[in-house]
């Protein structure tokens, strides 16, 4: 068992927000998603106060060793989430972490208070880092701004408060430190790296409907390792590390860099059950086993 912010988790592998829709997965694969749930905690996709349709397509672009997404946080809004989705998510056999995002302190406060009132929700993750939404970017990129936000929010809930950091900032450790000082219980990183792609027709037009997006997958694994290590050197609160994890060795590296938990994101797109394999490999993968550098 892994202790994380007062939660007892079966293993250190969870999902990254927005990369595994447990309700949709149950429609596609049936109840085995519940009985063989691949993660030790479930992080919801980002919930906003009002419903969002998301960005105009195209929303995806495949890159060397990864992908760019420009999804735009489509969700049913707070009321839709609490009424439609929460009862189904409460059936999951693992603690539920709800990820929320607001563009103002008032929005975030309303979300946190509403989520705090739900006994089925074990912890709150604050999205201040989605590069698709300009407000999120501004909040999470600046230590002073972020510190102010977390300070306002912190008294509103006794549940563990996780701040998901953006990698698109000059000094991620300074932002993490500000989150810790303002009362965050944990930080998670890295979110996607800001990226864009041009239309393959050669016109120079942006391919993605929203122009820009975020890069994920193995392409960002080394960046994730560096940022997790940098944050671990500055904060004492637990870290959820993520970025390009495809196997137990990658997960082990993030733990060695200072993470307490590891999240799997893009790799679940390639194999919906991969979280369970990574947890198994991590368990079987000795901490000091060498990998050839040749």
């Amino acid at each position: 068992m892994i202790a994380f912010c007062g939660l007892e988790l079966e293993h250190p592998v969870i999902n990254g927000s927005g990369t595994f829709d447990a309700i949709a997965a149950r429609r596609a694969f049936g109840d085995v998603v519940i009985t063989a749930f691949p993660f030790s905690a479930y992080v919801s996709k980002t919930i906003t106060r009002e419903p969002r349709d998301g960005n105009p397509p195209p929303r995806l672009y495949e890159t060397p060793s990864g992908m760019i997404n420009s999804i735009g946080l489509p969700n049913k809004g707070l009321t839709g989430y609490l009424e439609d989705d929460l009862p189904a998510l409460a059936e999951l056999p693992v603690p539920l972490i709800t990820n929320v995002m607001g563009s103002t302190v008032q929005d975030v406060a309303a979300l946190v208070e509403a989520v705090d009132a739900q006994p089925a929700i074990a912890a709150i993750e604050l999205n201040v880092s989605c590069p698709n939404v300009s407000t999120g970017l501004d909040l999470g990129a600046d230590p002073v701004e972020l510190g102010r936000l977390v300070q306002e929010i912190r008294p509103l809930t006794a549940k563990p408060l996780i701040v998901k950091l953006t990698p698109n900032t000059a000094d991620v450790a300074a932002v993490a430190l500000a989150a810790e000082a303002a009362g965050a219980d944990a930080v998670s990183l890295i979110n996607t790296l800001r990226a864009m792609a041009l239309h393959p027709d050669g016109t120079g037009e942006a391919w993605l409907g929203a122009g820009k997006g975020g890069l994920s997958g193995p392409a960002i694994r080394s960046v994730a390792l560096a940022q997790v290590a940098a944050v671990a050197a500055r904060v004492t609160i637990p870290i959820i590390g993520m970025g390009g994890v495809q196997n137990g060795g990658h997960a082990r590296a993030l733990l060695q860099a200072g993470a307490t938990l590891v999240a799997v994101g893009t790799e679940s797109f390639r194999d919906p059950a991969v979280g369970a394999r990574i947890a198994r490999e991590l368990h079987d993968f000795p901490a000091n086993s060498a990998q050839s550098a040749l």
């Binding site: 694969f29 929303r59 999804i71 390639r270």
Partner: protein
């Protein structure tokens, strides 16, 4: 019927060049039988290594046929993902997740089905015709191709009418010419179509103009195929988006404003 949870391997047992396409057959003895119009997310053991360091993500393909637990897929090598898949040889492993999504529905009792396939979009018409033949449902297959070389794939279906862009096989013109003629003779038919966006949009307009029930099997770039990534969405007439992977890939034409260009 739901899909097994997770990616599994299916051993390639045959691959055959049919005109401009490759038919790859892979044994999936433990997998559930797919319905016509359903799809699989397909990958090979190694990712990367093709043009631009791709492919990384699996590719969504309609199942073309199933015979005794062997799945048939139709590939045309047009990019890094399809190049990799089209080069699979017997004994190699095809990674798959599926069957996924919502397939075709049979026409109302006594009504005829018009199966319209364009290019690689003939694939789901193969399994759909197999089912309709087995159920004794009246239908007609209409296929469109670039030229006679690609039109060799018409042999994969029973008694199709063929159109080619250059007239080198069958009717010279679009498959929608054939569809228009069929609808003139039988206005109560149901359309089931799959093909390139331009063709599907023409079929959608035809169906809407004539009030003909029309099911469109859409294609969309998708990362996951099971509703997680929200990348494959298509705009709905009523506002908002549908996930092609979860709500489709076969959608009622009435739901759509238009078929997206990509």
């Amino acid at each position: 019927m739901t899909a097994p949870f997770g990616r599994r391997n299916a051993e390639v047992v045959a691959c055959e060049q049919v005109g401009g396409y490759v038919v790859v057959q892979a044994g999936d003895p433990g997998g559930p039988a797919p319905a016509a119009g359903q799809f699989y997310m397909l990958s090979t053991e190694r990712w990367g290594g093709e043009a631009d360091g791709r492919p990384f993500l699996p590719r969504a393909f309609s199942v073309a046929r199933v015979t005794n637990g062997v799945l048939h897929f139709l590939f045309e090598a047009v990019g890094p993902g399809t190049h990799r898949l089209a080069r699979l040889r017997p004994g190699e492993q095809l990674g798959l997740v599926g069957p996924l999504g919502v397939g075709f529905s049979a026409p109302a009792h006594g009504r005829r089905a018009l199966l319209v396939g364009g290019g690689i979009g003939v694939a789901p018409m193969m399994i759909w015709q197999d089912e309709l033949l087995a159920q004794g449902v009246a239908h007609k297959v209409l296929l469109g191709f670039r030229d006679s070389a690609f039109a060799l794939a018409a042999d994969l279906l029973t008694n199709p009418a063929v159109a080619t862009d250059d007239g080198s096989a069958g009717h010279q013109g679009f498959v929608t010419d054939l569809l228009r003629a069929e609808l003139a003779a039988d206005p109560f038919a149901t359309i089931c179509a799959c093909g390139p966006p331009g063709m599907l949009e023409a079929v959608r307009q035809l169906g809407v103009e004539r009030g003909t029930p029309t099911q469109l099997a859409l294609e969309s770039g998708m990362a996951c195929g099971f509703g997680a990534c929200f990348g494959c969405v298509v705009p709905l007439k009523a506002g908002g988006y549908a996930r092609v992977c979860l709500d489709g890939p076969v959608l009622d034409a009435e739901l759509l404003l238009q078929v997206p260009a990509h």
